[in-house]
Symmetry: C2
Subunit: 340 residues, 2 copies
DNA sequence: CTTGCTTTGAGGTGCGCACCTCATCTATCT
DNA sequence: AGATAGATGAGGTGCGCACCTCAAAGCAAG
């Protein structure tokens, strides 16, 4: 039989109450006693039974996802996966909720976050831009005892607090490699389209993309990144302009998280015909475009995996456990028509 | 608060003992009573607390993976993931073990399986060829109350019992598409190498591969599949012969699960230079080859995902629960040097 | 009606732990 | 020495359910 807290108490020569104090990080225990208990844990190979611990808590783990209010199909996919997890998770005493943040107003976002209490929530995964207000709000939440983790959109890596999402530089490099190989021996230029070049994700993807193309495909020229700001009219305008002023465009790279608008615009302009076109994130729009041949490849991160990984990591933090690194690495997936 | 069995008993107008009988499928309950309880479950939205249920069982869930005795790096990866899960799973009262099967002798395999008792094991994931003896052994295990699921290597889909693994036809098609696109406008022939053409997996992959190449790349010719039988000498012999008799080989497709030998042989012959080369499954050997450029792409299924998915499905079967379909679909991943 | 079988109820036990209270003990300071 | 604060022990409760026993009730056939 596996050792229980009772065995641990005996092995450490202390009472169950003290074992409880040490295991759950309560105050009022001498360092020496803490060490004695920890030594006994090692010695007898004690491992807390998480099933019993969860039941004894008498409340479910409550996790939240703080997501931007604006967002298109990829965000919807993520929200669907959160709801799905929540539904299935209740039987396991884990709840997952969505909090929408006003991403235009960092102060308001910070205020929303500061209202969260450890009474209501055990941990939170946050998709938000990197601003001082938000960094500050995160710090204060952690002080209050709420576990946090950056989600999809990275925050500056300050405390090694983990991050759930892909390596965007690698994702850009992956797109670049496919672009180069799919174009083959032809020479020409590549149009890059995104919502905004301001975000860290965009910057990193572009860096990775440029790195591969510039090094390995000297016959290809990457044009300056065009911005859509999520506006179809503007998207159409900039894309049409680019195609007019460059008659040698052989590739299109839709770098942002929301490829729906670029795809629709490109379709209206007949821009994908004869050009290699690559986008990010599987959504209903990109999946359809892959099947029709308008898109040649999609670089993807699995939203279900993102959601479940964030929850597993937050939960492990609550329980002072390590996670399975192999399970939490979010893969940069390549999708083509044959494996969507 | 969520309804408990107590609430359910009251709502159904029966005792706790009867609720227990119905929930755990024990005998000696009239149909009418069963219906009354099920109706009450729907009405009040009862959902069993799996945490409490697991604790009350007073024993961990025990799952096993029945794997062939022969196998190379990919099998090792799977075993590593099983051990890893087992280690982490003990705190959650889930254990995972490995049973090696003598894959040369179906009778012995069947005998090994028939010795397993529901006392020792709750469910088993099986990677084994499709033979009458094995099919029979599986059937009898299920009758004894052990849950089973085919793993990586598919069994004939008889009872819709689920399957953990990729769609091999789709995987072959994916390889075919990448082969066609990477080769580009060049014409020539493609060498296909595998361990044995007898296995269902090989057949399906070849079907998918042929489908794409024959339809969309008329300038490419696929040569008859060469067999290595896991023997480096033989592999070298057949590959060298093929390259001698065809001076227009532009692509190599290593179709089997163990690409290590083909890669080493191709390296010795300098066969990958100037040819598009695609293999299956990420292993130390294929990962290295991707980085050196000997391989252009690897079609992969994640071993960690395979293992955890099998366990989740088996467990759900034990608890009479549904699984999250979105989580259990094993993806056919494409790996290139940039996203390994 | 009795006999024998099936169905149901009532009640208890324990899983391993979190969380709580209160009493006792120990070290430190004045 | 006594006062004070901190450290520890002893013991209890309950989480929601599985699993068990035994008695009682229902039901069918003869």
């Amino acid at each position: 039989m596996r050792p229980t807290t009772k065995d641990l108490a005996k092995a450490a020569g202390v009472s169950l109450a003290t074992v409880d104090r040490v295991l759950n990080g309560r105050s009022g225990v001498r360092d020496k006693t803490v060490r004695a208990v920890n030594e006994a844990i090692e010695r007898i190979g004690f491992e807390r039974n998480q099933v019993a611990a969860t039941l004894a808590r008498q409340r479910a783990y409550r996790f939240a996802f703080a997501l931007p209010r604006s967002g298109d199909e990829f965000l919807e996919e993520i929200i669907d996966r959160i709801r799905e997890f929540d539904k299935a998770g209740r039987a396991e005493m884990v709840e997952a909720d969505v909090i929408r943040l006003d991403d235009r107003d960092p102060h308001r976002t910070a205020r929303t976050l500061s209202r969260l209490s450890p009474e209501d929530i055990d941990g939170i995964a946050i998709m938000a831009p990197e601003t001082p207000q938000i960094r500050d709000a995160l710090l204060r939440m952690r002080e209050r005892g709420i576990r946090t983790i950056p989600f999809v959109t990275n925050q500056q890596e300050d405390g090694g607090e983990g991050f759930v999402g892909i390596d965007n530089r690698g994702a850009g490099a992956t797109a670049g490699r496919l672009m180069g190989r799919f174009i083959g021996p032809a020479a020409g230029s590549i149009v890059v389209l995104t919502e905004t070049t301001q975000s860290r994700d965009s910057l990193e993807r572009r860096l990775g993309f440029d790195g591969v193309i510039n090094r390995d495909y000297p016959d290809l020229t990457i044009l300056p990144t065009l911005e859509t700001h999520g506006d179809p009219g503007r998207a159409q305008h900039v894309l049409r302009n680019a195609l007019h002023s460059h008659d040698d465009v052989v590739g299109l790279y839709f770098m942002g998280a929301e490829a729906r608008i670029p795809i629709e615009v490109a379709r209206a302009l007949g821009a994908t015909e004869g050009r290699v076109t690559i986008a990010h994130e599987r959504t209903p729009a990109t999946e359809r475009a892959l099947r029709t041949g308008e898109l040649d490849a999609v670089i993807h991160q699995d939203p279900g995996h993102l959601v479940r990984s964030a929850i597993r990591i937050l939960r492990a933090k609550c329980e002072n456990r390590a996670t399975l690194a192999s399970q939490e690495r979010i893969r940069t997936e390549i999708l083509i028509a044959e494996n969507v």
